[in-house]
Amino acid sequence: MTATTARRRSRLRRWSGRAGWTVLAWAVAIVFFIPVLWMVLTAFKPESAAETWPPKFIFTPTLSEFRLAVTGMGPFLTHSIIATVGSTILVLLLAVPAAYALSVRPIKHWRDGLFFFISTKMLPIVAAIGPLYVIALHVRLLDSIALMIILYTAMNLPLAIWMIRSFMLEVPTELLEAARLDGAGRIREMGSVILPIISPGLVSTALICVIFAWNELFLAINLTVTNAATLPMFLISSVPQEGLFIAHLCAAATIASIPVIIVGWIAQRSLVRGLSMGAIK
């Protein structure tokens, strides 16, 4: 009798403990998510319902601000897509062979190589922004998507090399040895053994590069005007000097953020590995 009550009580305590954690966790999650929720919610408001006190939570949703935001977005969206996809492809083309030379068949000073790449991430690009502008002006690349591709590639390359290297180190040595015994050269070794195995890793590397390139503002704001202005620049232009703009801004911000949010949600697992440059698996 007492044993059953004790068991029941302990089960009850475990259950209430779990309920407590559930409530706490959800509360924290909602606090963190509120600004995002507010952005999306406000995007569906008519402008007149967005700037009220107290803030409105119940309103007739409308797509009019989205429609308005989309009309001006076209060129910015195109520039962002070209710069992001272009730089990501270039990063992979450069990083895969480099990672190979730092892992599978390493050069003598592979460690120095690795640290050279990571050290370029620590040099603040902001320090060189004036001269960068002058250089871009002289080589006639100012305000061009090509320039954005070149710079975003350099920005993401170290990260990609570290990350891809960590995937290559996981390729079983026996497979490489077997391929070499079969007389496979470097190219075939890469094409038929390494690439098929690391392809999921390449996808997550690409996703990380896409996130950083898509969100970049500093270089874009300094080096582009109209011909290569990207989505973050569009957001800035959606804030007028006067008048009501909150709903419009939120619609634009939602559209600009959604692709990366969805990519990040899907790639949650590889996010950790990418952000730690392959240090955490």
Partner: protein, 313 residues
């Protein structure tokens, strides 16, 4: 499942043969060269040019181009209170944001490591701030969230006696830091969570059997285990946060006055508003030197975090 990668020497598949070693050496170097040359050209040349311009007087709104002025740009930089202020502010902003984000990150990771209803959804909601485009986040915080007249934050805090506070005028620096923390806590959480999930459960159970309390177990076992993960998070977070520009430019534009002007924003202003390429270059060179001092420590930490072994041939 998750482990900090041991940067042990890569597997030596083939035994190196002395005779062919020279040719072999170049065959090994060849795949690295495109990335190496690319990185040197794109990331190092601008800094060399920066060094050159730092000794020139060059305003691009004035005719005549650049001319040599010796150290005068450096003299100007070191006597410029805005520059000194922006260095200090960069340090304050980065350190505060990184430390608070890490403390919150550890707490959230411990929370997410437990079993509860809807864990996957909670995790997804918590990482979302990190994925929002920083420019979008800054703009959404600036007005829809923090506006004194109809911002959501004032409404949510009204029960606590907050009455239409103009956050961006009265607490500008704090507001910018809060947004930095909001965006980077998820990053810290993910890294620490990976560390927690890599902790062997047997050790924790053994501690429990030995009668260790939850807090003692956390301090004596979990924290030491998490140390490399925490160091990694702090290091990477600092690399990114020291360059924060979007939040400053779009929330406060460096103000009021210069109260939120950090180094990136200062340099941006030098180039865009003062048209002073020479001055910005000198400030840039000083920034690079400061960074190199910090980066030397950071790289050493990086090496330790990745558990480098003795150099192998």
């Amino acid at each position: 499942m998750t482990v900090i990668e041991d940067l042990a020497p890569p597997p030596k598949v083939a035994v190196e043969r002395r005779a062919a070693s020279r040719r072999e050496g170049w065959m090994r170097r060849l795949p690295l060269l495109p990335a190496l040359i690319y990185t040197i050209v794109v990331t190092q040349i601008p800094f060399v040019v920066t060094l050159w311009y730092s000794f020139q007087s060059y305003f691009w709104d004035q005719p005549g181009g650049a001319r040599f002025t010796g150290l005068s740009n450096y003299r100007a930089v070191f006597t410029n209170p805005t520059f000194r202020g922006s260095v200090v502010r960069s340090v304050i902003m980065t350190a505060t944001a990184v430390i608070v984000a890490m403390i919150l990150g550890v707490a959230l990771a411990v929370l997410l490591d437990r079993k509860f209803f809807g864990r996957g959804v909670v995790r997804t909601l918590i990482i979302t701030p990190f994925l929002v485009m920083p420019a979008a986040a800054a703009l959404v915080w600036a007005t829809p969230m923090l506006d004194p007249n109809f911002g959501l934050l004032n409404y949510l805090l009204a029960p606590f006696g907050v009455n239409h506070v103009a956050w961006l005028s009265t607490h500008a620096l704090g507001s910018v830091i809060v947004v930095m923390i909001w965006q980077w806590t998820p990053f810290m959480t993910l890294i620490v969570l990976a560390g927690l999930q890599s902790q062997p459960t047997e050790t924790l159970e053994a501690a429990k059997v030995d009668g260790a309390g939850a807090f003692a177990t956390f301090r004596e076992l979990t924290l030491p285990h998490l140390r490399p993960y925490i160091e990694l998070g702090i290091l990477l977070g600092s690399i990114y946060l020291v360059n924060v520009f979007d939040a400053v430019r779009l929330m406060t534009n460096g103000g009021p006055g210069t109260s939120t002007t950090n180094l990136p924003f200062f340099l941006y202003q030098e180039v865009n508003n003062a048209f002073d390429v020479g001055g910005a270059a000198a400030a840039g060179v000083v920034t690079v030197f400061l960074t190199i001092i910090v980066a030397t420590f950071a790289l050493r930490m990086f090496a330790r975090v990745f558990q480098f072994e003795e150099a192998s041939r």
